[in-house]
Symmetry: C2
Subunit: 411 residues, 2 copies
Amino acid sequence: MEAHASVDRFLSHRRSEGVWISTFSAAELHAQADRVDPRQPLAGLTFAVKDNIDVAGLPTTAACPDFAYEPERSAPVVQRLVDAGAIVVGKTNLDQFATGLTGCRSPYGAPESVFGGGLISGGSSSGSAVAVADGSVSFALGTDTAGSGRVPAALNGIVGVKPTRGLLSTLGVVPACRSLDCVSVFAPTVASAGGVFRAARGRVHQDPWGSEGDRPLPAEPKVGVAEGLDFFADAGQEKAYARIGGDIVLDVAPLLEAGDLLYRGPWVAERLADLDGFLTKMLPVTRRVLEAGYAFSAVDAFRAQHRLRELKAAADRMWERIDVLVLPTIGTTYTQAEIAEDPIGRNLDLGRYTQFANLLGMAAVTVPNGFTEDGRPASLTLFGPAFSDETLLLAASRVRKDDAMTLAVAG
Amino acid sequence: MEAHASVDRFLSHRRSEGVWISTFSAAELHAQADRVDPRQPLAGLTFAVKDNIDVAGLPTTAACPDFAYEPERSAPVVQRLVDAGAIVVGKTNLDQFATGLTGCRSPYGAPESVFGGGLISGGSSSGSAVAVADGSVSFALGTDTAGSGRVPAALNGIVGVKPTRGLLSTLGVVPACRSLDCVSVFAPTVASAGGVFRAARGRVHQDPWGSEGDRPLPAEPKVGVAEGLDFFADAGQEKAYARIGGDIVLDVAPLLEAGDLLYRGPWVAERLADLDGFLTKMLPVTRRVLEAGYAFSAVDAFRAQHRLRELKAAADRMWERIDVLVLPTIGTTYTQAEIAEDPIGRNLDLGRYTQFANLLGMAAVTVPNGFTEDGRPASLTLFGPAFSDETLLLAASRVRKDDAMTLAVAG
C-alpha cells in the first residue's frame, strides 16, 4: 500500500472510543511514510502498539498515568516492524498493567467490541484488537500473558497470534508476569498475521528471555479437540465449538489445572516482583488482584512450580498424539454491565481456555469461528507445543469460512 | 570382571568408617552375580548407591532415621545399571537430606577422606566417593544439587560426573532442591565414569524432570579459565590451578553471583517444599540451614528467578567463545576440626565454584589435578553448557597426568 495514502486513511478514519492513549501527529506520520521503501515486506502498513510496549516519541503508560515515562528508543520488536516498512501510528488502551481480560480496567476508558451491544472488547490488549477490527490500522501489537492476545481477538472477530515465548523480544515491554509475557500480533487474516509475526521475530542479543526455534511442519497435522468443557451455560458458544471436528478427543484437565496456578496461585506474586511500587497508583480492581500475591511464600512458589512441571509433562505427552489442539478461545461472552457485576470472577471465566498456554510453553493462534445464533462472535484457538508457530498458522489458514466451519485439517 | 569374584572382593575389602548405611548380604550379592551375563556392558562391576536413591531391598534413609522407608522398587537409574550387568552392593552415607558439602552432617558418622589426616571426605555424597576411592566398589552413584557429586570427588582424588539435569532420571531420588537435583557418577577414571554415565542415562516416561540431548563434539574444544579467584588464602590450591593453561581468560562473576542464590537466596525454600515435615527430625545444622527458607516470599522467589535468567544469559554468551570452562573444584580443603569451628560458613566456601552449575543449566566433570606441595589433593572441574556432557568427558580424558598437569586440549 502506498505509504502516504495509508497514513491519510488512518487520519481520516473514525476512531472507536477508548481505543487510543496517544497517536503521532499527521506531520510525524507523513515523515514516517517518507522513509518507507515500497520493496520492504510490510511497506506502508499502519500499525498500533499496545501502550505497555515502548515506542520512541510517545509515552509508555501501561494505562497508569502515574507510571508513565518517555522511552528513549522503541522496543526492538517495534523497531523490526518499522525496519520492515510498517508505520506505527500510536499507542492503544489496555487493562492496566496488562492485568485483566475484560477491557474494562483502564482510566483511559473501556472500549466496546466492534460488534456493539455493550459487549466487552476483551483485554488486556483491548485497544489493539479494536483498532484492527474497526479498520483503523492494518495490524497491531499486543501482549499476552494469560490470554490478552487471544480473548480480545475472539471478542472482535479477528486473528490473534500468541507466539512461543521469547520469539518476539519482550525488551522494552512493561513486565506483567516476566517469565510468561509474550508480544502478540492482531490482524484481520491469518496470512497477514503470519507475515507480521515473521517480520517481528528475531533474537535480540541483550534479551535474557529470548528464544528461537522452529518445529518441522507435519505432513498432515493431527488435530485434537476436547469434550465436556464448561461454557458457563452459554449454549450458543457450545454449539459453535461443536461444529469443529477433530481426529482425537483429549482430556484437558491438566491444562486447566495449570491455568489455575496463574491467578489463583503464586504466579500473582510474579506480577508484584516488578509492580509493587505502583500499587497505590493502581485502579482498585487491579490492586486487589495483585495484592493477593503477598499471601504466597517462596515455599508455595516452588511447590507450585513443581506441580506445574508435572502438568507440563502431561501436556507434552499430548503432543505425541496430536499436532494441534483446538479449544474455544472463551467459553462465553460478557457485556460491560455483566463484568461490572463480578469483575474478578468473570475475568477468571474468560481466561479458562487461555491462561495455561504460557505456563505450559505453548504457542497459540486465535481465529474467528463465525457467530452464535444470537449474533455474538465465536472463536477458536489452536494450540501447539513450543516452536510450532508455523504449524499453527498453517492449520489456522485451513479453518474454512463456510457454513459448516469445520476445521479442514481434520482427517 | 567375573561377577562372583567381584562380589568376593567387595565382601573381603576393609571398609572405611562411616561410609555404609546398609549393604546386601553375601547371599544376596551372589544371587545378583548369578544373574549377570558377561556380555553386558557393565558385567560384574560392583557399585554403591547414595542413600537418598531407592534400591529395592534396602531402606532409603537420606541419613535421617526418622525419614527411612522401604522402597518397593529401585530408582530407574539404578535399575538401568543393574540391567547393564552391574551389582549394587549397598547404600552409602551422605550429608543429611543431601544438604551440605562437608561429609560431616550425618547421624551415621563422618567419613574421612581417603587421604587421611583428618581431611573431610566432602559431601553430600561422602560415602559414595570414599567407597570408590578406597577401592570397595568399581563405581558409585551420588547426587549433585550444589556440588555434592564434585566436592567429594575432589577431596578423594577421583572422577565425578555431574550430568546435564534430567539426563539421569531423578525418579526414586529423595528431593533436595527438586528443580536442580541431578544423579551423579563417581569412578576412578574418566573412561569408566563415561561408560557408567552412558549406561545410566535415558528418558523415563513418567519422570517430569527428564531431558535428553547431545551437543555435537567440537573439532578442538576451546578452553576458558578464570583469574582472580578466591582460594581462601590457600596458596597450594592456587598454585595447582595456575598449572592449567587455557585459550581464553573469562570473567566468572555472573556464575558466582548465580551460585549465591542457592544457599543465600530463595532456593533454600525449595528444599522446604519437600522436607518441611521433617524439620524436627533433622540434625541441628541441617535444620538451621533449611529454616532460612521461611524468610523468603513468593515475590522474592520470582525476583531471584528473574535475576538468574539475566545471569544465565551472561553465562550462555560465554559458550559462544569457549566449549569448556575449567575452574578449581574447591578453593581450599578443610579438616573435620576446621568444619566443626564454622560448619555453615566453610560449607559455603566449599561450594563457591560448584553451586552455580545446576542453576545455570551446566554439565560438569571433575578430575584430579595432582597434589599440593603439602600433599593435599587438588582437583579441576570442567564445565560446559547443557548437553555438552560428551565434550566434557572427552576434554577430561585429555587432562594429562604428568608433572605439568596442563590441559592438553588447550591450544
